[in-house]
C-alpha cells in the first residue's frame, strides 16, 4: 500500500562535542506505515527520535512533516518511552488527556475520547484508578492511549515494551498492531528486539554506532494481519538472519 510521504529527513546530523551521534541521514516515512528502527545501544536511535520530536536541534539538515519544516520545533508528534511517565496524581482518564491539558483547556470531547479509547481497548473499568493501582502492562497501555488521543499522525515509540516481561510484551505487540490498524496512524518504533521489529513493521531500518547511521533498510514481506504463527515462518527467519548479521558484524555469516 504505497502512500504519500508523511515524514522526510534530509541529511539530518547531530554531534555531541566530538562524537557523531547521528551522521547525515536521509529517509522518508510513508503515511500510515509502521517502521521500526533496530540497533545496539549508542547507535543514535534515540538521538534520531529526539531530533524528529524536536527535543534536539540537529547540527545540519532538515526535518519535514507533510511538506512543513519542523526542524527543532516541538508539538507535532505523539511520543512514548519505555518509562510510562504517567503522573501518579492523576487518574487513568486524566492521564490519557494529559497532552490536551498541557497545551490548552481540556474539553468534554477530550474526556469523551479518552473514555471511548479506554473502553475500546479494555481499560474502561480503570478510568477512575490512579496509575499505581495498575500493572506494568496496563500502565504502558494507558501511556499508549495518551499518545493515541493526541491529534498527531506520527507516533514515535521508543522501546515502549522494553521493560515488560516476555509474555506481556507479546500481548502488547498484538494489541499495538490492532490499535495501529484501527487508528490509521504512522508509527516509528525503536527497539532492541529484532523479533519485535519484524513482527510489527512494514519496514525495518537497521542502525549502527560510531558514527550512528542507518546501514540497511528492509521491506518486510510478511503479510498482514499477522498472528504469532508469523514468528516461525521461513520469511521471518530469513529476514531475522539478515538483520542479525548486520547487527553482529559477520559473526554469524
Amino acid at each position: 500500500m504505497p502512500q504519500e510521504t508523511l515524514l522526510r529527513l534530509d541529511a539530518v546530523e547531530k554531534r555531541f562535542g566530538d562524537t557523531v551521534a547521528l551522521s547525515p541521514t536521509s529517509l522518508s516515512i510513508a503515511e500510515g506505515s509502521f517502521v521500526s528502527v533496530v540497533g545496539p545501544s549508542g547507535c543514535g536511535k534515540s538521538t534520531l527520535f529526539n531530533v524528529i520530536a524536536g527535543l534536539l536541534r540537529p547540527d545540519g539538515g532538515e526535518v519535514t512533516l507533510r511538506e512543513t519544516a519542523v526542524t527543532g520545533t516541538t508539538g507535532h508528534v505523539g511520543y512514548m518511552l519505555q518509562k510510562d511517565l504517567l503522573v501518579p496524581w492523576r487518574t487513568v482518564r486524566d492521564n490519557i488527556t494529559m497532552a490536551a491539558r498541557l497545551t490548552r483547556r481540556v474539553t468534554p470531547e477530550d474526556t469523551a475520547e479518552a473514555i471511548r479509547v479506554a473502553e475500546r481497548y479494555g481499560l474502561g473499568e480503570f478510568l477512575n484508578h490512579y496509575p499505581k493501582a495498575l500493572s506494568g502492562g496496563m500502565r504502558q497501555r494507558v501511556a499508549f492511549m495518551r499518545t493515541l488521543v493526541t491529534p498527531h499522525q506520527l507516533l514515535l515509540l521508543d522501546e515502549p515494551f522494553g521493560a515488560l516481561d516476555a509474555q506481556t510484551r507479546l500481548e502488547m505487540q498484538q494489541w499495538l498492531l490492532e490499535v495501529w490498524r484501527e487508528s490509521g496512524r504512522t508509527v516509528l518504533f525503536i527497539t532492541h528486539d529484532v523479533d519485535e521489529s519484524i513482527f510489527l513493521s512494514d519496514r525495518i531500518l537497521v542502525m549502527s554506532p560510531r558514527p550512528g547511521r542507518v546501514v540497511a533498510d528492509f521491506e518486510n514481506p510478511l503479510p498482514r494481519p499477522r498472528t504469532i504463527d508469523a514468528l516461525t515462518t521461513p520469511e521471518f527467519v530469513g529476514l531475522k538472519a539478515q538483520i542479525m548479521r548486520l547487527l553482529h558484524g559477520g559473526d554469524h555469516a
Binding site: A53, G54, L55, T74, G75, H76, V77, Y79, L81, K83, L85, V87, P88, W89, R90, T91, D94, M98, A99, R101, L102, T103, R105, V106, N128, H129, Y130, K132, A133, T150
Partner: protein, 265 residues
C-alpha cells in the same frame, strides 16, 4: 472499623502509657508535689482555671496559626522562585541557612524593639521558623521532577506555565507537605518563645512563669500540656489536609469529591 481502632486506639494507648509512667515515677520515687505534680493534678490545674486559661490558649492558637500560615505562604513563594530561577537560588540559599542559624530566642528582642509588645513579633518568629522547611522541601521537590516527563511535556508543545502548573507543582506537593508537617510541629515552639519575649500582658508563657513564681507546679505542668496539645492538634490538622489533598498516595481510585472535582480542568 479495625483500621479506626488501630489508627486511634494505639495513639491513645501510648498516651495512657505516658501518663502511667509519669504517675509511676512520682509514686515510686516519692517526688514532692512542689517538684513535679501527678498527672491528674496537672490536668485539674487546667480544668479548674479554664476561665483564665481559655483566652490565653486562644491567643497562643492565634499566634501559631497566623505565624504558620504566613510562614507557609512565604515558604511556598520563596521555594517556587528559588526552584525556578537558578540565579535567585544561588543568591538566597546562604541567607536561608543564615536565617536559621540565628537562635530564634535572640531574634525575639530585636523584633519586640521594632514592633512593640504586640502579637506581631510572635507571629514573625513563628513564620521565621516555619518558612524554612517549606522552602527547602519545595526547592527539593521541583528539582526532582522526572526529566523525561518534562521532555514529554516539551514534545507535546506545552507552555512553561502549563508544565509548571500541571507537572512540576503537583510533583512538589508531597515534599511540600513534609515541610509543612515539620513546620507545624515547630510552630507552637516559636509562639511560646515569642510570648516569653513579647509580654503582651496576658499569654500562656507568662501564665506559666507566674505559676512557677507562685510554686504552682501543677499549673506549670498544666500549661505545658496545653502548649503540647496546640502543637499536636496543628500537626494533625496539617496531616488531615495532606490526606485530603494527596488522595493518590493512599487510594486506588479517585474520590467523587476532592480537589479534582472542585476544579474542572
Amino acid at each position: 472499623m479495625r483500621k479506626v481502632l488501630r489508627n486511634v486506639g494505639i495513639p491513645l494507648l501510648s498516651l495512657a502509657l505516658l501518663f502511667g509512667v509519669w504517675q509511676a515515677i512520682i509514686v515510686m520515687f516519692h517526688v514532692n508535689t512542689y517538684v513535679a505534680p501527678r498527672p491528674w493534678a496537672a490536668i485539674t490545674a487546667i480544668t479548674s482555671n479554664w476561665g483564665t486559661l481559655w483566652p490565653l490558649l486562644l491567643g497562643t492558637i492565634r499566634e501559631t496559626v497566623y505565624g504558620f500560615l504566613s510562614g507557609a505562604l512565604l515558604g511556598i513563594v520563596l521555594g517556587v522562585v528559588m526552584g525556578k530561577v537558578a540565579f535567585i537560588q544561588k543568591l538566597i540559599y546562604p541567607l536561608l541557612v543564615l536565617s536559621q542559624a540565628v537562635p530564634s530566642i535572640a531574634l525575639a528582642t530585636p523584633l519586640v524593639l521594632i514592633f512593640g509588645l504586640t502579637i506581631k513579633p510572635i507571629v514573625i518568629i513563628v513564620a521565621w521558623i516555619v518558612f524554612f522547611p517549606v522552602t527547602v522541601s519545595i526547592v527539593d521537590g521541583l528539582s526532582h521532577v522526572d526529566h523525561d516527563l518534562l521532555n514529554l511535556a516539551r514534545v507535546y508543545g506545552a507552555s512553561k506555565a502549563r508544565t509548571f502548573w500541571f507537572i512540576e507543582m503537583p510533583a512538589a506537593v508531597s515534599p511540600l507537605f513534609s515541610g509543612l508537617k515539620i513546620g507545624a510541629t515547630y510552630a507552637v515552639t516559636g509562639a511560646i518563645i515569642g510570648e516569653l519575649a513579647s509580654s503582651t500582658g496576658s499569654n500562656l508563657a507568662e501564665y506559666q512563669q507566674h505559676a512557677n513564681a507562685n510554686f504552682n507546679t501543677a499549673g506549670v505542668y498544666g500549661t505545658t500540656i496545653l502548649m503540647t496539645v496546640v502543637g499536636i492538634s496543628w500537626f494533625l490538622i496539617v496531616v488531615g489536609i495532606e490526606i485530603w489533598a494527596t488522595p493518590w498516595l493512599r487510594r486506588t481510585t479517585a474520590r467523587r469529591w476532592g480537589l479534582r472535582s472542585l476544579r474542572r480542568s
